[in-house]
Amino acid sequence: MGKIEWAMWANEQALAAGLILLTGGIVGVAGTFRGWQFAAYAIAAGAFVCLLEYPRGKRNKGTSVERTGQYCFTVCVKSFGPVTRNYYVRAFLHAAICVPGGFMLATVLGCVCLGIASLIYLGAAIRGEQWEPILPRTATRKAVGESIKQPPQNPPPRPPAEMRRKRAEDLEGAAYVNPVDVTANEE
């Protein structure tokens, strides 16, 4: 029922997976375990994924909630144009990034989580979703003159409303002119 936007969920997953990958990488390098080069790679890859996924995309329908301070990231990600807009690219990119993480124990979990995120991105791409940047709306303020009602045409003293109303039998004697023609029997 209704359009589910899978990309939003994939975005949350990819951000979390990036953080997990980053943490695993830091642990791996700090302990200089066997295969710590993979851990160093995981730090870089995790940081990259976090930066790419931090700006949330715009929803198709409804209000989009931004993450705090995401505007500068939005600008950076937007500047890559179709590469970052297309979710197929993101899906394959995440799949490629996650593979080296599987070679070291500390980064295995990050690899698995990023793999799941890449699958969901693939699903979103197949459904035709795209990343739209959330840009601040230029607030259009109504000109003050339009909201104030038109000032009266006649100078004071003004006759009461019954006198002012145009009577059908005496169209010429009225104090104003209709922009649209009216007939006597029109309600």
Binding site: M1, M8, R59, V65, I116
Partner: protein
């Protein structure tokens, strides 16, 4: 705004007390398990092999056990409604804690995530140590099959390893789908992933099968640190051998190790059975058919649906959950009741605002397109209404309106629905309530919205005037959009138009007025509306401006 201690305790004290209790329980459990594993005699050899990772992983596991059992309890909504409604929990302060059940669930969930991270990290270190510290002396203790076995192979070939990976994946899916953003925009993702909890719990109960961590079962016969028959004491080399103590320290037999009996099921099975029973009960209760009696279209995209169901009892302020198979088989949407069934009239009703695709589709099934029929007339029973399942009623904080002497109800837009039910109860089903004065503030964006309940408000106002209780209901209506001059021109709605103000309400002045008129009383503040209003009201309730009056804040979460 300066915080007042008395107001803060009245509003926030209960919640924080429960939080402190919960934190204390978690801390005690963590420390107790940590100390057991670091100083216990039966874990001496295991601790030597694995080190600190053993203690941290087991301690976090016991905290996870506690939180996995607690996290289910706040979600047993029918049970909580019973506790609230039958006044089994007699103190109002304790009943107010039930309002925060969803928050408690979230807190336990976050704790589960954090401690899972700790647990997994510690166990990864354990696996590395199992592999690197393979002990030839104590073969029974090893998890690895040989020294230096690849830790990833250990994970994939043991039951705890495989179940652990599956649990982490499920937890990852559940956690990432639970953020506020996803719940607001794509509620189905949240709902379906959260229903994976049953898989999570079943696998959790199987997680300890296979026993990776073993304790020593013959501590008396083989005190840890004793010397085996062919070992000489390294400390006493070169010193006088004291044969007496040396004999005592010889082992009588080899150390024997036994895997742990899985304990998680003891923690988790009770709440899990309770929750499953509750879901089953709700399913049975909602399968009873509901007859739609009338459907009325109101201005500003609101329709009113009146229904009839056998054996349906509800109190003002409760809400129901609708499921319409004709629209979507699995979606359930909560709506507050605006009319409760009474002895005279058995129908109950909801007002729903058409926003989102479920409500749009539901309205299409109920009503013809606008323009074909006149808007306010009720439908003639030519139409076949869709099948509707109603689950509920469930309790909410607005049930407490009658339990205060003075209540302030603030409604924003469609948030007026719980209070509409309260007003209906005052109009039709008058009993000796504890409530002596009701301040009703309704803020809407458009003037047309007030027509949803204009009849009800005028009828109640009229009735109270006739009974010479004009100060019982203090009505204030606000229209927040100030662009066009608006007024309710009908003569019969004169009580409303004379109490209508243009522009947003000024809450401080309102609270001053209520505080001055009701000194030395406890005023219940009920808010159902946008976050901005509820935050402002919450802050005002906690502030110290009003001497002698305590404002107790109750928020209805309208998600």
């Amino acid at each position: 705004m300066v915080l007042s201690f008395k107001s803060w305790v009245a509003n926030e004290g209960g919640k924080h007390f429960v939080l402190v209790l919960w934190l204390g329980a978690n801390t005690w459990l963590f420390l107790r398990t940590f100390l057991t594993y670091s100083t216990g005699q039966q874990y001496y050899y295991l601790y030597k092999m694995l080190g600190l990772g053993l203690c941290i992983s087991r301690a976090s596991a016991s905290v996870l056990n506690l939180n996995c059992s607690l996290v289910l309890l706040p979600m047993c909504r029918s049970l909580l409604t019973c506790l609230r409604g039958t006044h089994t929990v007699s103190s109002r302060r304790t009943r107010r804690l039930l309002d925060k059940s969803k928050t408690f669930h979230v807190v336990c969930g976050v704790a589960i995530c954090i401690f899972s991270v700790v647990h997994v990290s510690a166990h990864l270190v354990n696996i590395v140590n199992f592999s690197a510290g393979y002990s030839e002396d104590l073969p029974g203790l090893n998890l690895a099959r040989y020294r230096g076995e690849d830790p990833r192979m250990i994970i994939l070939t043991t039951v705890p390893g495989v179940t652990g990976v599956i649990l982490v994946v499920i937890l990852f899916l559940m956690f990432t789908a639970s953020s506020y953003c996803i719940r607001v925009s794509n509620y189905e993702i949240f709902w379906y992933t959260h229903n994976l909890f049953i898989v999570f719990y079943i696998i959790l109960m199987l997680h300890m099968v296979g026993g990776a961590l073993k304790y020593q079962s013959n501590v008396d016969a083989h005190p840890p640190g004793c010397l085996s028959a062919n070992q000489s004491s390294p400390v006493l080399q070169g010193e006088e051998l004291e044969t007496g103590s040396d004999e005592e320290r010889r082992c009588k037999e080899e150390a024997r190790f036994h895997p742990h009996y899985p304990q998680t099921w003891m923690w988790v099975s009770g709440p899990l059975c309770l929750y499953c029973a509750e879901r089953f009960y709700r399913y049975i209760r909602s399968s009873d058919p509901v007859t739609i009696v009338t459907v009325i279209r109101h201005p500003c995209d609101v329709i009113e649906v009146r229904m009839l169901k056998r054996d349906f009892k509800a109190h003002p302020g409760q809400y129901i959950v609708l499921n319409c198979p004709g629209v979507s088989s699995f979606e359930n949407h909560p709506f507050t009741l605006t009319t409760c069934p009474t002895e005279e009239k058995e129908t109950f009703g909801i007002h729903l605002r058409i926003v989102g695709d479920w409500t749009e589709r539901f309205t299409e099934l109920l009503l013809p397109k606008p323009g074909v029929e006149s808007e306010i007339l009720p439908m003639v029973q030519q139409r076949r209404y869709p099948k509707l399942c109603v689950d509920g009623p469930f309790g909410s904080s607005s049930e407490e309106v009658f339990n205060y002497e003075v209540s302030l109800c603030v409604a924003g837009g469609i948030g007026v629905t719980p209070f509409a039910c309260v007003l209906h109860a005052l109009l039709d089903g008058w009993r000796q309530f504890r409530l002596r004065r009701l301040y009703f503030v309704w803020v809407c964006r458009e003037l047309q919205s007030f027509y949803w309940f204009s009849e009800l408000l005028c009828a109640l106002h009229h009735k109270l005037w006739q009974e010479n209780r004009p100060d019982y209901l203090n009505l204030k209506l606000f229209v927040s959009q100030t662009e066009d001059l608006q007024s309710m021109s009908e003569e019969k709605y004169r009580p409303l138009s004379s109490r209508l103000s243009i522009g947003r309400p000024r809450w401080k002045l309102l609270f001053d007025e209520i505080g001055n008129a009701n000194k030395h009383k406890r005023v219940g503040v009920f808010c159902c509306g946008p976050k901005g209003i509820s935050r402002t009201l919450h802050r005002l309730c906690n502030s110290s401006r009003y001497t002698g009056v305590t404002f107790e804040f109750n928020k209805e979460s309208f998600s």
